[in-house]
Symmetry: C2
DNA sequence: GGGAGCATGTAACGGGTTACATGATTGG
DNA sequence: CCAATCATGTAACCCGTTACATGCTCCC
């Protein structure tokens, strides 16, 4: 059994919590939490992946009527799907985390721009980070306490973005020195 | 003037420090530092991208003989290349940093595996993080103090991976509780 | 009336990885 | 002598993004 694309594991992972979900639901959930540490696939990928996973017997689909004439497809993970996912979590080589940090990259090239502009960029990043932290805080309070591991990761993420914020602040301090010196 | 692929900016960025470099040099340098916060492109991409950048007049190539019969191609950034890069750094919308953290993802799915196995995975991650930190420490001492911004980012990265390590330690503590409780 | 949210897909494109190919030199 | 390093490329492939396409319901 060869590897699935990582998006498929993401979907299986979301479904592994046992709920019956539509593609649309999966996207929303991925956007709300997975995005912050593993990325969130585009809708189009979700629908095509779900189809493939169904062919492979890793998820099961069922049509549920939403009104007299229309319906939606809800998906559940199958026992085989659960097995494949668990095997992957347990045995597959753990890829090193990959980070693509456009802000850090721009700071790295700081000589090419005015420190003032660089400061703006880092400030914007700080603001965005704040927003993520706010989201994570809300998520912590609204997540079922029974979900021990997801809660662990929410706190892990909080710590991550708190560091991100603190690092941004540190950069801003250092940039202000460079600006004055100019 | 449309956007270049982000790999091209990475190469222009490396060349913007003014040295004459081969594709091979660029790969080494990207592996040593860019990898830690922006990713490092595969060799094949580097060579094809350099060719394209040359066609676009953003880099200039020169053949330097290595022995009687062989030679290597060394690249420099052109004034136009520098302008394009600076414009990008200054004006292009800053993509939000993206993180793909296979370790966090596995922890998130912790219910699927034994806490002992999860602990192993996090421990391996911690070890790798330590190695990166060691690398960054060496890099800090060997980097030209005149390179203010790169040094800023080296310290930023150190902070980042120190947080990564501390977060791993925290996870390990929490996992040990879960293991005992079992 | 219109925008946001729910809901599902297809098609085109491309950036980037892996595999394949070649070959010289240096050091353990 | 063999592995690592230096050095350069091509080809196949695919994962994932963007754009395109459709239509309903609910609320302001």
């Amino acid at each position: 059994m060869s590897e699935l694309p990582s998006t498929s594991y993401a979907l299986l992972g979301l479904l592994s919590f046992g709920r019956e979900l539509t593609g649309y639901d999966l996207k929303k959930w991925a956007d709300s939490i997975l995005r912050h540490f593993y990325g969130s696939p585009a809708m189009s990928v979700i629908y095509t992946d779900l189809k493939r996973l169904e062919e492979q017997g890793l998820v099961a689909a069922r049509d549920v009527p939403t009104d007299e004439v229309r319906h939606k497809r809800v998906y559940t993970i199958t026992p085989e799907g659960r097995t494949v996912l668990a095997q992957w979590v347990r045995n597959s080589p753990v890829e090193t985390p990959s980070l693509k940090h456009a802000v850090a990259f721009r700071v790295w090239l700081g000589d090419l721009v005015e420190p003032e502009r660089l400061t703006e960029i880092v400030e914007e990043h700080r603001t965005r980070t704040e927003a993520v932290l706010e989201e994570l805080r809300r998520m912590e309070t609204t997540t079922d306490p029974g979900l021990v591991y997801p809660r662990l990761v929410i706190r892990w993420s909080q710590r991550y973005y708190e560091n991100e914020r603190a690092a941004a602040d540190q950069l801003l301090r250092e940039l202000s020195v460079l600006t004055k010196r100019k």
